[in-house]
């Protein structure tokens, strides 16, 4: 009953409690790990089902009980997709749209972002406010009038409405990238440019030779996001493109799904879907950190 004894008892019980808590923590972590794994797998089931069903034989599609994994993978389903509809053309069109739209995005966003970040001109802050406002602009408000404008220009049923506006940093999506560029440029110390300007370099030279090399992260992020958005866009091609030879992949999949002759061929529809998704997955694997970066920089991401 000495105080020394009681303190020792207290230390022992405290140590017991601590080790018990540590054990509980460890058990909890293991449980969490298992739960997360189960949850992740269920979460990915629709995507996995799409891939596995793309390799089914047509008899396995409407089978009872439901076939989860095909007996033998029918790789020829993918070849068949290209036969039933000109998916090679669709892929090419998608490629063209992404190429020109993203090029235009990069071009205009760098220029405009730089202007907002570095140059002072009357009305700049007003237009910057306008830019921020257009970030929140629902795309639907310009759908109908733009269609009429493009119709008057004769651009309907071409890929022009899907590419040209993006050379002008216009909604959807591009104002966000302008904002990103501007924020990034503002973070670059001014001394470098000032030195160059004093030496007699033109603005555009400083932009190209000094700012751009330092801006690789933001340019990469914008490129990755813009590629994703233009590649997966469905509403705009739906509105502007009608002939088969100008369809993008998105329209191709929708067309396959709506076609009476093919919508029952789930294996084909899924093969087309997988085909369209593969480039994006590849992009994701290689450019993953730009996706995450982009979201955390802006809060927007992917849709």
């Amino acid at each position: 009953m000495t105080t020394a004894n009681t303190t020792m008892q207290q230390t022992v019980t405290m140590a017991e409690r601590k080790s018990r808590r540590k054990m509980l923590e460890r058990i909890w972590l293991v449980v969490l790990q298992v739960l997360m794994t189960i949850f992740l797998i269920s979460f990915l089931v629709p995507a996995l089902w799409m891939i596995s069903s793309s390799l089914k034989a047509s008899t396995e599609v409407f089978a009872h009980p439901i076939v989860w994994i095909p007996a033998t993978p029918q790789w020829q389903n993918y070849a068949r997709v290209f036969e039933v509809l000109p998916f090679a053309t669709f892929a090419w069109n998608s490629f063209l749209v992404v190429l020109f739209a993203v090029a235009g995005t990069i071009f205009s966003c760098i220029l405009v972002g730089y202007s907002f970040a570095r140059l002072r001109w009357p009305g700049r802050d007003l237009f910057f406010g306008v830019l921020i406002a257009t970030l929140m602009l629902p795309e639907v408000i310009v759908l109908v009038p733009r269609f009429i404008i493009f119709r008057n220009l004769g651009w309907i049923d071409t890929l022009l409405p899907l590419t040209v506006p993006f050379w002008f940093a216009t909604t959807p999506w591009t104002p966000l990238y302008v904002f990103l560029m501007r924020q990034f440029f503002k973070g670059i110390p001014m001394e470098l440019e000032e030195a160059a300007l004093i030496d007699g370099a033109s603005r555009i030279r400083t932009l190209i030779q000094i700012i751009l090399p330092l801006s690789k992260p933001v340019i990469a992020t914008v490129t990755v996001f813009a590629m994703l958005q233009h590649y997966t866009d469905f509403m705009n091609p739906l509105i502007y493109v009608s002939s088969l030879e100008h369809w993008t992949l998105a329209l191709g999949i929708a067309g396959l799904n709506a076609d009476e002759s093919f919508k029952a061929s789930w294996e084909l529809v899924f093969a087309a879907g997988t085909f369209m998704t593969i480039p994006v997955i590849i992009l994701f694997i290689f450019a993953q950190r730009y996706f995450v970066q982009g979201i955390t920089m802006t809060g927007f991401g992917g849709r």
């Binding site: 409407f62 009872h64 404008i149 119709r151 008057n152 220009l153 004769g154 309907i156 049923d157 002008f168 007699g200 033109s202 555009i204 739906l238 009608s242 002939s243 088969l244 329209l251 929708a254 067309g255 709506a258 076609d259 009476e260 002759s261 919508k263 029952a264 061929s265 789930w266």
Partner: protein
């Protein structure tokens, strides 16, 4: 050292002026509702006076053909245009095909017409061209028909052809195919259930009775006696079989008359009971994404057309052993003793332009016996004259698809009438009113025909009145 900062670099200037020019172009284009027609191509149009242009010295002509884009059609357009261009080296036919899944064919045509650059030749279904004719967009072809004695596609006495190709005394459409629909039945369902195949003189009661006998949804593999079409156009057959029609006139209707007892009963049967009470047809839920259909082997009978042959039985399917043996026959007898069937023509018409004569030559070629044979053979569709059907088409479908009773198509066509033409396009009536107000609730089982058809009449009447008031 030149003061570089005070002058715009050349590059900046080019950027500015390029964007400025583009901006001006954009803003200039916005102000006009329609652009004037593009400068006419440098070629002279073929001489307007009659007479053949057989000499190779004839002036070069380019014809734009806005064509229906079903895969089978595309192949046919290829063959026909190549052959025509071989024989007429001065003519270039440029085929633009528009696939329909996005409902984009007519909008594209509308855009071209409104923009002042109509195609020389355009595909049309027999009920969609009237509004263009009324607006003066299409060229009447009576003179050409007389001049070239092109009478085969326009036999006397078949009302559906009259209504599909002519309007207000003038002819506009050159038919490339005839359309009608009959009852398809899959033989194996009958064989397995020991039910004899239906015969020509069968009645509605017998039809429903057979359908019930052939329905068995207890097992894993569901079987249904019939597949209901679930759309107004196809159900027009059933509606007219009652002896009534859903409009006061089927050419230029002015009054909507869905809400008549006979029609109410019939639609209650065909758009509701077969799904929900009798359960002899797969519901839309059953059929989602192509499941439980006649072509998957689940259904015994379906009202369909010639385009459907290849989905059930074809040389390719027979190779893989996946074919469904079937035959066709006239629809069962209803209250109307005439037993009308639906019929129409589809083909091409000629928008007004300086190239009408040259366009006619090409369209005439496609509709001639030779051209139409190629078309029918490639697409599998019914040729544009009953003689060709008899002599050429029926033997073909027997061999290719196993159809023994092709004669049924001729019989059906002789008794045919169009769905509805003129005035408000039927596609507009369907998608804006008949489907959402009438069919969707019935198909979904949430309202009966007696409940929805009065509303359908009310809404349709508004649209009709609005249209006729503005004429």
């Amino acid at each position: 050292m030149t003061d570089k900062k005070s002058t715009l670099s050349r590059r900046q200037f080019l950027i500015l002026s390029g964007q400025g020019a583009l901006a001006l172009a954009v803003l200039a284009g916005c102000g006009q509702a329609a652009q004037p027609a593009e400068e006419a191509p440098a070629e002279e149009p073929a001489a307007e006076s009659g007479g053949e242009q057989a000499e190779p010295a004839a002036a070069p002509v380019e014809l734009e053909f806005l064509a229906w884009g079903d895969p089978a059609d595309i192949e046919a357009w290829d063959k026909l245009s190549s052959l025509y261009m071989e024989r007429n080296p001065n003519v270039t036919v440029k085929v633009t095909s528009v696939a329909d899944p996005n409902n984009n064919f007519y909008p594209k045509l509308q855009t071209a017409v409104a923009g002042g650059t109509p195609p020389a030749v355009s595909s049309f279904q027999g009920w969609e061209w009237q509004i263009y004719a009324d607006n003066g967009v299409l060229a009447p072809i009576d003179d050409y028909i007389d001049r070239d004695s092109f009478t085969a596609p326009y036999p006397e006495g078949i009302k559906s052809i009259e209504d599909s190709t002519a309007r207000n005394g003038k002819r506009y459409l050159i038919p490339l195919q005839l359309g009608t629909m009959v009852m398809f039945y899959a033989k194996n369902h009958f064989d397995e259930a020991g039910v004899p195949y239906p015969t020509e003189d069968w009645t509605m009661e017998e039809f429903l009775d057979i359908a019930q006998k052939l329905t068995d949804t207890s097992g894993d593999f569901k079987k249904f006696g019939m597949q209901a079409n679930g759309s107004w156009f196809r159900d027009i057959h059933w509606i007219r079989s009652t002896g009534k029609q859903e409009f006061d006139e089927i050419v230029d209707p002015k009054k909507a008359l869905f809400n008549q007892p006979e029609i109410v009963d019939m639609l209650q049967l065909m758009a509701y009971d077969v799904y929900h009470t009798l359960k002899i047809a797969p519901t839309p839920a059953d059929m989602e994404a192509g499941a439980n259909a006649i072509e998957t082997g689940n259904v015994a009978m379906k009202y369909e057309g010639a385009w459907f042959f290849g989905r059930l039985n074809s040389p390719e399917l027979r190779e893989e052993g996946k074919q469904i043996e079937f035959d066709v026959l006239l629809m069962p007898q209803g209250a109307d003793p005439e037993r009308p069937h639906r019929g129409w023509a589809e083909g091409v018409a000629l928008p007004q332009s300086e190239k009408v004569e040259a366009a006619w030559e090409f369209a005439h070629f496609m509709g001639s016996e030779e051209g139409d044979k190629i078309y029918a053979e490639t697409t599998g569709r019914i040729p544009n004259s009953l003689d060709l059907v008899e002599s050429f088409w029926i033997p073909t479908i027997q061999e290719r698809f196993g159809v023994q009773n092709g004669q049924a198509f001729i019989e059906a066509f002789k008794r045919s009438e169009v769905d509805v033409v003129g005035g408000v396009p039927r596609s507009k009536m369907w998608s804006e009113i008949v489907k959402p107000v009438g069919y969707d609730p019935m198909l979904g089982g949430s309202a009966t025909a007696a409940e929805v058809l009065p509303k359908v009449d009310e809404e349709l009447q508004k649209v009709l009145d609005e249209y006729w008031a503005s004429q």
